[in-house]
Amino acid sequence: MIIEFTSVKKNFGKFPALKGVSFSVPEGSITGFIGRNGAGKTTTVRTMMGLMNYKGSAKVKGREVKEGYALLREGIGYMPETFSLYPYLSCKEMIEFNGKFFEKIDYDKIKNYAEIFELDLNKRIEFLSKGTKKALSFIIAVSTNPEILILDEPLSGMDPIARNNFLKILSEECGKNGTTIFYSSHILEDVEKIADRIVLIHKGKVLLEDELDSIKENYKRITVVFKNAISKKDIEQINGVKRTEEDGNGFLIITKHNPENILEQLNKLSPSSIGIFDMNLNDVFKEIVGGEK
């Protein structure tokens, strides 16, 4: 595992921002780190980047973040949520300044991505729009061909075309270079397009960590209508059922694992009609987080 968090805790005064966060990120994966506003996403990302002090164990490339992190950052591209580049520099000067921190800078890649995002490299940063600033921040993050790319809410402020370009580039980065991407966002449609793994954080706790395909296989919506009256309790007792809604003899069932088994059990109850439907990441998110009051 290239990133490994074990019981990481972080308090801001008396407020517990992270309440023992544990998850891991395999090498070469695109991990979507999702959660509501204030769930602890940015705190987790900043902890990963060595910007926060914490309790527990946070390891990147097998080394504890607290110890000797300067060397580790050589292989990390980071795009923060809030824009943090020098406004008095031109884009070109900023890229050159950033390049002095790293051994290698891919100038062809910079030129190529600048064209894709229609970024004028001679323009001063203070005169760029919000979306273009984000694009520059992203170009700087990927220009060093990092092993790990850590992105915190990267798409906020970007127009739909820039967003599509961004997602396309991310997939290419992972596919061609084997870059591990840790992508924090609350825009789930975008995460779903590229992520192969999901970590869901809510109120400082990780509620879900799994492969996206596995989540989609386990989380299903089943609608079933019975000829005879069936107790809601009977359905809720079936292993793998997360939630049930009753409407006369009809039921809406949300599964959290093993939907085939649930379907088999329901068929034994002689339903008049039964259907199973896929859920998208947004629906799964609502089911998990919505249940947490």
């Binding site: 900043r46 980047m49 060595g50 910007l51 926060m52 002090n53 300067a70 060397l71 580790l72 950052r73 050589e74 990390i76 980071y78 923060p80 809030t82 824009f83 943090s84 580049l85 020098y86 406004p87 008095y88 300044f97 950033n98 002095k100 921190f101 790293f102």
Partner: protein
């Protein structure tokens, strides 16, 4: 190096304004003093037309013709260049932190593959370089003071070139040409004599920088107020503890009997040694320099400790 250049570029206007203020302040101070000295000397000579050469020399001595670097920076007048540079040092330190805070650029800097010590060191070094420029600029840029630079290695009571040449650039240039051989040597002497001043202001700067790091999340006004109060109080204590020049140009010992005073006296030293004005201007005063370097090093490690053990943003 690139981080130091970045800091200097970022704060070039603070440095330029700092240099302008001290240069103009020193100009005004030295010019006003020169005028009064000229009238004093002229009046004395007019009243006593039969003075001998040695008597004239005595008049020059007693009339405080030594319009020198130390007087520009540390005299008995409360509001002198010392306090001007003190405030500039504080503003510079606070600006070094506030600018990054305002633009969220600490997040950028602290996530680059560079140690926190290097980031902090770049801020320390750029601050000290800026202070050195601000301290030396008024002496170098004041035309009549070129005479001081060139004449440092000869007796300091020599007839002030300020008196005879005023601030006429042509005369000053002629003087420099004539004394060109002495110029580089004297320039190095000037540097040596300014080391304790640079260190003194650097300590104030480092204290303010530490204050800025500690109170990073507070608003700028509060930060500036706190560090100014702390540094001004500290600097007054410094003057009182380590001695100030008296009306006769000699140095009075400090009024406060700090533990270090008695300890140093046991070894035959007086804390007066810690006042840079105690020394001749043509060598680096060892004790205040060592003292300054030690304090600066301590402040650097303290600031580093604060950065490492607190959230970076």
């Amino acid at each position: 190096m690139m981080l130091i250049l970045k800091e200097l570029k970022e704060h070039k206007w603070t440095i330029i304004i700092g240099i302008l203020i001290t240069v103009l302040y020193s100009f005004a101070m030295v010019l006003s003093k020169t005028k009064s000295i000229v009238s004093y000397v002229e009046g004395t000579i007019t009243r006593n037309p039969n003075l001998t050469f040695s008597q004239l020399s005595q008049i020059e001595k007693s009339s405080e013709l030594m319009i020198d670097f130390s007087k520009t920076f540390f005299n008995s007048v409360f509001l002198n260049s010392f306090f001007v540079v003190l405030i500039i040092s504080i503003v510079l330190a606070v600006a070094l932190v506030s600018y990054e805070e305002k633009n969220n650029t600490f997040e950028y800097l602290f996530t680059r593959p560079v140690s926190y010590a290097r980031i902090l060191a770049s801020k320390f070094i750029s601050g000290i370089v800026a202070i050195a420029l601000i301290v030396i600029a008024p002496v170098i840029l004041y035309p009549a003071e070129m005479k001081f630079i060139a004449k440092t290695l000869i007796p300091r009571f020599a007839v002030s070139y300020s008196v005879s040449s005023g601030v006429e650039p042509a005369k000053v240039m002629a003087f420099i040409t004539k004394n060109i051989k002495a110029f580089p040597v004297s320039l190095s002497a000037l540097f040596c004599s300014s080391v304790p001043y640079i260190l003194g202001f650097s300590i104030i700067f480092a204290l303010a920088l530490l204050g800025g790091i500690l109170f990073r999340k507070r608003n700028s006004f509060l930060k500036v107020s706190i560090v100014i109060i702390v540094c001004v109080i500290w600097s007054i204590f410094w003057a009182y503890a380590f001695g100030t020049p008296d009306a006769n140009g000699k140095f009075a010992t400090g009024f406060i009997n700090l533990p270090i005073n008695s300890t140093l006296r046991k070894f035959g030293f007086n804390t007066l040694f810690l006042n840079p004005n105690y020394y001749n201007l043509n060598h680096i005063p060892l004790l205040p320099t060592i003292f300054g370097i030690l304090v600066l090093t301590g402040l650097f490690f303290l600031s580093h400790f604060v950065i490492v053990h607190r959230d970076k943003i």
